[in-house]
C-alpha cells in the first residue's frame, strides 16, 4: 500500500510538470506558476478523484454482482449520463448545465434499473438484466439525439463529449462534482468489510446477519453518485473501472479490506497516467477514452492471461 502511494505521489508531481509546456520546477516564471495553480492542479486533482471513483465503483459492482467483468456502467449510469449531456448540449449548451443534467440522468438511469430489477424479483440477475434494458433504452435515445443534432455544430460537440476529456477543467468545475465524488469515495471505502460478506452471496450474507438489501442499495447509490459525477465532468471514460480492481487484486488479493483502498489508488494512478498521455502524445489533446482503451484493453488481457490458472479458476 505504501509503495502504491509513493508511486501515486510521484505521478502526481510529474503530472504537474508535463503537458503542452514542460515546466522546470527550479526555474518557473509567473505565467507558468499561474498555469500550474489554475490549470494543472485542479485538473490533476479531479483526474485523481475521478480515477478513484471509477475504480471504487468497479470494485463495488464486482463484489455486488460477484463477477470480475462488472464495471461502473453495469446499471446504465454511463448511458444515462451520456444521454443527459447530449440533450443539454443540444438544448442549452452551458457548461454547468451540461454537467448538472448529465449527473441527474446518470442517477435517474440507475434508479430506473433498480426499480425495474425489483419488479423482476430483486436478485442479482434481475438487476443485471434491467441494467441492460435501461442502457439500451438510453443508448437508443442518444442515437436519436445524434441523428437530430446539427451535424456541423452540435454533433461534433456531442461526439467529443462522449469520448471523454478533462480539457479545460478549472477550480469552478470542481465544486459541482466534488461533493458527490467525495461522498461516494468515502462511503465505498467505509463499506469495504461489508463487501467481503456480501460477496459470499445473498443467502450466506443474510445468515451472517447482513441486511443484504440495505447494503446493496447503499453501495449502488454511492457508486452511482461517484460515477455520475465523473461522467458529468469528463464524459465517458471506459476501462478504468474494470481494470483498476484487477490490477489491485493482483497486488493485494481479494480481501476487500486491502483491495478497496488499493483499487482507489490504482484507479487514480492509471487515470492520471492516461490523462498525461492524452495531454502530451499529440499537439492537440487526444480524447481520453482513446487512451484508456488503448492501454486498458491490453493491460486487462495481459493480466487475465498471466493469472488464468490461479486467480480465475472457478473450481
Amino acid at each position: 500500500m505504501k509503495k502504491g502511494f509513493f508511486l501515486y505521489l510521484l505521478t502526481f508531481l510529474v503530472s504537474l510538470m508535463v503537458g503542452r509546456y514542460l515546466f522546470k520546477p527550479w526555474n518557473m516564471s509567473e505565467v507558468e506558476k499561474a498555469i500550474l495553480i489554475d490549470v494543472r492542479l485542479p485538473r490533476i486533482l479531479i483526474v485523481s478523484l475521478s480515477g478513484a471513483s471509477l475504480g471504487l465503483a468497479g470494485v463495488t459492482f464486482q463484489n455486488l454482482f460477484r463477477n470480475y467483468l462488472a464495471g461502473p456502467g453495469i446499471l446504465g449510469v454511463t448511458s444515462g449520463s451520456a444521454f443527459g449531456a447530449a440533450i443539454a448540449i443540444l438544448l442549452f449548451p452551458v457548461n454547468y448545465l451540461i454537467q448538472g443534467v448529465s449527473f441527474i440522468f446518470g442517477l435517474v438511469s440507475v434508479f430506473l434499473s433498480y426499480f425495474l430489477g425489483r419488479k423482476l424479483g430483486s436478485t442479482i440477475l434481475s438487476l443485471v438484466l434491467s441494467g441492460m434494458v435501461i442502457s439500451a433504452f438510453f443508448s437508443a435515445l442518444l442515437g436519436l439525439i445524434k441523428y437530430l443534432a446539427d451535424p456541423y455544430n452540435k454533433l461534433p460537440a456531442i461526439v467529443f463529449w462522449l469520448l471523454g476529456s478533462f480539457t479545460g477543467v478549472r477550480w469552478s468545475d470542481l465544486t459541482l462534482a466534488l461533493v458527490p465524488m467525495l461522498l461516494g469515495i468515502t462511503g465505498m471505502l467505509c463499506l469495504r468489510w461489508i463487501y467481503n460478506v456480501l460477496s459470499a452471496g445473498d443467502e450466506e450474507a443474510k445468515a451472517l446477519g447482513v441486511d443484504v438489501r440495505k447494503y446493496r442499495t447503499l453501495s449502488i447509490l454511492l457508486a452511482t453518485l461517484a460515477t455520475s459525477a465523473v461522467t458529468s465532468v469528463a464524459g465517458i471514460i471506459t476501462w478504468i473501472g474494470v481494470v483498476a480492481p484487477h490490477v489491485a487484486r493482483l497486488m493485494v488479493g481479494s480481501d476487500n479490506r486491502r483491495l478497496v483502498p488499493m483499487t482507489a489508488m490504482v484507479g487514480a494512478l492509471l487515470l492520471l497516467v492516461c490523462d498525461d498521455l492524452a495531454r502530451i502524445l499529440t499537439a492537440s489533446e487526444l480524447p481520453l477514452s482513446v487512451v484508456t482503451n488503448l492501454i486498458g484493453a491490453p493491460v486487462l488481457f495481459t493480466i487475465l492471461a498471466k493469472k488464468k490458472g490461479v486467480l480465475y479458476a472457478k473450481d
Binding site: 468489510w193 467481503n196 445468515a207 480481501d255 479490506r257 486467480l311 479458476a313 472457478k314 473450481d315
Partner: protein, 262 residues
C-alpha cells in the same frame, strides 16, 4: 432448546413447501432425514433466517427468532451452506473470518480478537496449514471443513448444516459428521442438519426427524425411527434391517426399483 411451531413457507405464495412443521430438539445433534424435494433445505434456511416463514414461530432458548434483528439472530444461529459459494479467490483465513461478521462493527471491520478466534477454530479442525491457501483450490473435503470452521467462528449456540456430507467421499463424510458430533459434545452446542443416508444418521445423530412433502411424519431416537416401515413411507423403498452389536443398519433392496424400468 429449539422449538418450531406450525411453520409454513412457500416460495411463490401458491405451493407450500413447509406445510406446518412442529419440531422440538432439546440438545445434541438433530437430523432431518428425507427424500429430495421434501423441504429440508427450506426448513433449515428458515431456521437460519435466510427465508422468512409465512406463518409459525421458531423459538431458540426461549427467544422468538422470527422477531430478532438479523445480526442478533446471526449471533445465536450459525449456518453452514450446502454449496460452496465461489466468488473471488479468498484465502481460507479470509473465508473463515467472514464468519465473524455478527460480532464485527460493519465500518471498522474485524479486530485482533476476531483474527485470534479464527485461528482457534482453524487449529481445532487442523486447518492451520491451509490458512494462506485459496479456498477455491481446496478439495471438496477441505472446503467442507473450512465452511464448518466458518460456522464455528460465527459462535452461534445452534449450528445449522445443510447436507454437510454432499460432495464428500466415504471417509470425508464420516470426518465432517464426527467434527459436528465432537463440537456438540465438547462445546455444548446444538446442531441441526440434513442428511440423505439413514445409516450415517443412526451413527451420528441423537434425534431424527423424518420429513416428507413439507411435513414431519415421525421423530425420535434413530434406533426407534429408522426402520423398514418408515423407510418405505419416506423413500418408497423396501429395506432390510440388519442388527449388529453397535446398532442397526438398513440395507436397501436393489430389486425394489425394478418396476421403474418395466
Amino acid at each position: 432448546m429449539l422449538r418450531i411451531e406450525n411453520l409454513r413457507f412457500s416460495y411463490n405464495g401458491i405451493v407450500e413447501v413447509l406445510k406446518g412443521i412442529d419440531l422440538i430438539l432439546d440438545c445434541g445433534v438433530g437430523c432431518i432425514l428425507g427424500p429430495n424435494g421434501a423441504g429440508k433445505s427450506t426448513l433449515l434456511k428458515t431456521i437460519a433466517g435466510i427465508l422468512q416463514p409465512k406463518k409459525g414461530k421458531i423459538f431458540f432458548k426461549g427467544k422468538d427468532l422470527t422477531r430478532l434483528k438479523l445480526k442478533e439472530r446471526a449471533k445465536l444461529i450459525s449456518y453452514v451452506p450446502q454449496e460452496f459459494s465461489l466468488s473471488f479467490p479468498y484465502t481460507v483465513f479470509e473465508t473463515v473470518l467472514v464468519g465473524r461478521h455478527p460480532h464485527i462493527n460493519a465500518i471498522f471491520g474485524p479486530t485482533r480478537e476476531d483474527e485470534e478466534a479464527v485461528m482457534k477454530y482453524l487449529n481445532m479442525l487442523h486447518l492451520e496449514d491451509l490458512k494462506e491457501k485459496l479456498f477455491i483450490q481446496l478439495s471438496s473435503g477441505q472446503k467442507r471443513l473450512v465452511l464448518i470452521a466458518r460456522g464455528l467462528a460465527q459462535e452461534g449456540e445452534l449450528m445449522v448444516l445443510d447436507e454437510p456430507t454432499s460432495f464428500l467421499d466415504f471417509k470425508n463424510s464420516l470426518l465432517a459428521l464426527s467434527v459436528v458430533e465432537n463440537i456438540s459434545k465438547k462445546l455444548g452446542k446444538m446442531a441441526i442438519l440434513s442428511l440423505h443416508d439413514p445409516n450415517l444418521t443412526s451413527l451420528f445423530c441423537d434425534v431424527v426427524f423424518l420429513m416428507k412433502d413439507g411435513r414431519i411424519i415421525d421423530s425420535g431416537k434413530p434406533e426407534e425411527v429408522i426402520n423398514s416401515h418408515n423407510m418405505k413411507e419416506l423413500f418408497g423403498l423396501m429395506v432390510e434391517e440388519v442388527i449388529i452389536p453397535e446398532g442397526k443398519y438398513i440395507i436397501p433392496d436393489k430389486n425394489a426399483l425394478r418396476h421403474f424400468f418395466e
